[in-house]
Amino acid sequence: MPKDSGIGASSKRREDVRFLTGAGNYTDDINVHGQAYVHFLRSDIAHGRIKSIDTSAAEAMPGVVKVFTGKDFEGVGGMPCGWEVTDKHGAPMQEPPHPILAQGKVRHVGDPIAAVVADSLEQARDAAEAIDLDIEELPAVMNMKAAAQDGSTLVHDDLKNNICYDWQLGETDDTKVDEVFANAAHVTTLDLVNNRLVANPMEPRVAVGEYKRGTDEYTLFTTSQNPHVIRLLMCAFVLGLPEHKVRVVAPDVGGGFGTKIFHYAEEAFCTFAAKACNRPVKWTSSRSEAFMSDAHGRDHVSKIELALDADNNFIGLRTNTYANLGAYLSTFSSSVPTWLHGTLMAGNYKTPVIQVNVKAMFTNTVPVDAYRGAGRPEATYQLERVVDKAARELGVDPIALRRQNFITQFPYDTPVALTYDTGDYNGTMDKLEVAADLAGFAARRAESEANGKLRGLGINCYIEACGIAPSNIVGMLGARAGLYDAATVRVNATGSISVMVGAHSHGQGHETAFPQVVADMIGIDESMVEIVHGDTSKIPFGMGTYGSRSLAVCGSAMVKATEKVIEKGKKIAAHLLEASEADIELKDGQFSVAGTDKSVAWGDVTLTAYVPHNYPLEVEPGLEETAFYDPANFTYPAGAYACEVEVDPETGQVTVEAFNAADDFGNIVNPMIVDGQVHGGIGQGIGQALLENCAYDENGQLLSASFMDYAMPRADDVPFYGVDHSSQTPCTHNPLGVKGCGEAGAIGSPPAVVNAVLDALNSGGKAVEHIDMPVSPSRVWAAMNS
């Protein structure tokens, strides 16, 4: 029976009332009295040496408040990187400076050179046109393999080369790996590209900086997934401000997908400029600016080799990846190709020997950082493509090959540093086979063929590590922060509850799901609970939302805090009922003495806590508790996906006819919200697989610089999805047994789509081994006619 409230109920998303009726309060809706506007003059070349910048004419233009260049920021820090990766020789990564405004060189199209603050945006733009720039153009470093060669042009003159780090995980002994491959009965090799993407949340980035001279206090309103992280980074590493004097507010945020995790130069600029100009300063990104200044995602070039024995057991896996970091290190960029990617190379399989090699490269492109899935889609794509290719080469059923190699014993220590606590990969595959009606595929293929179309079925599995992350582990791996989270449960006198959480909701539905948990624990109506998020002046120090962590980590903190509240409530109830605390039970909002009909209502207890006339002397008045929660391990959602496509052999057009997902997310708080998260993730995965491509030319010009050339998935590009999350192995180490569902769809879907296209083409008699994403009509046609 589906529940109608509390944990397990598909409660309607309460936040949608304001989002769908135009009553949201986004950063661009915030206007501060007296604000000025900033326009950034951005580089239109990929690489160049700044010889001179003359701002005098611009400064004299009407309405101009102040013109800033890199010189104005010589006294402050640059944009920091939050994760130090150690290379395979034990040396720290190369970490070049990332100034707020370019100093000395410009390093990508979109690199901010100067900033004009003026009374109006148009005046700022007018003045920016009057800035006289002399920039000597340098050759652009674009190709990662060429960039790794000695003698390549350097993106950063002070570094020894363009390699940020040369990293390795898993088996360190090359001879041992070579031996495994030499002794293999079969080796499958695949070269592939994981295409660069632009996240393109519907709401572009915005920042409003405000400074109050009277109190020496700053406020930054910004489009962020993690306001406390922004405050810490900006105060401690960039501007050198005391944290207690700075408030960071991330109000309603219209989509993040990772790209709003990072601390961006524009945020620090607006905060800095608000004081320098003694006026609030506002910046709203245009869509064109977003394409060249929001951190991009993916962009890996990989070779993957899979060794199998004579019985088709996986015996070894080796990968060699070039990962593009762009021109500068974005906040978490260094962790993505390493600890969020290499660690997932075991996938769902018990491959005993794994070696992952990653060279992370600086190029003259926009910085690359986490995008929905971050590293895990890149790992899954390589692995599930090579397994599929192996099945085709060996002439075995791709599902059977996978099942044969599944990990079935838990906990399982992978050769790449993780311990999977629990899972049931055959369980999700069983669900998938039914949901996707795999038995009926042959008939559907025959029908497509009768219509002149090729039909393909693509299967893949995925596992991800989320609920990021145990602080002690990530600390050992180079994280410069902890990754716990925090919640304060504030019970009001009349019994309603405000929960202040460190997680940030920007589409995930926290405002609905989090109250379901607290209400369920106490036995009150969900409408009595509300969460507060997104304002450092209101919430405890939490790390924000990414890595499918909100419920698993912040939700756990909320459970702990609620437990403390209930404990205290029991003490008060025991006093009121003149019973022993140990005998008090809380159910359906009533504290009762076990085995009697004596009870007192939740609201009477909460009122007593704040009007403590008849009160236990040893208990403090009030009812408010905070808990911090640091997870013991990652969580490991996993699943199996099936995609069916039709290919028009005349044009190469691919249409997705069916997509089914069977996920194991552990316990589920709101099934409808989980469905929605999976839908969105698959939509983005289909986008990556078929449509999206951030492309540069050899001079570093962005070719896909607008929606005219960057193809976002539209509603008619995707089918109605089948989503099943009934195979559940609850997480063993957090109180809710939840695993996280935000990224799964984006991680699990691209290989399913590509596998399906290749299956279709091969069914038509054309032996096509691989097509790089996006599998566009022109690429399919070229592959069919090669």
Binding site: N693, S704, P777, S778
Partner: protein, 263 residues
Amino acid sequence: MYNFEFEKPSTVADAVSALGGEDAQALGGGQTLIPTLKQRLAAPSTLVSLGGIPDMQGVCIEDDGSVAIGGATTHATVASEAAGSYPALAALAGLIGDPAVRNRGTIGGSLANNDPAACYPAGALGSGATIITNTRQIAADDFFEGLFSTALEEGEIITTVNFPVPQAASYQKFLQPASRFALVGVYLARFADGVRVAVTGASEDGVFRWSEAEEALNKEFRQDALTGLSINPANMIADLHGSKAYRAHLVSVMTKWAIEACM
């Protein structure tokens, strides 16, 4: 956007005189011009809206049976009002952009702009339409002069476009995945006195007539009439979305589909 003056005349004559001012520019639906202004790629002193001129609005059937469309008629209006009189053209209009674009964008703006991937140029050239301006009549064959370039003089306004109605016609559009303009679009029209095949999206010189296909179809209007014919890829467009060879191939496929639709 730079500042500009705005005028909205109610007659063609007033529009023409307003456009006589220095750096004045006509504004149709603004679906191309406004984004260009926002990016500061154009700086007209005055925008002269053609949207308030009743004579330039709507679809009507002339005495000779041709369909006359006012130069400021939106795509949405053509899609609904020409559906009975010239269904293939109405279908073309209904496939342009999204509802917001169709409710603002105009036929005159589209033809004047002559985007190499736009749909109307193929419809006009394929139909052998006549573009009527405030000063003269221009045959479609003489109107399109290459990428974003037409026979229009400075300040000249497209007031009406006159379409002879063929026995059968079809527009086949293969979508560019991002913009959903035509990666390749083929407009085929079969008249009593011959077949016209106009191709958009494909050529570096903009919309063109595929004369070999027309000849073959004039000999015999059959599905396999194109066998052995192909387009030379040399001056096809090559970009992120398709190579020259792919576009040349799509021209054949879209033409074949258009023939099938006209059978």
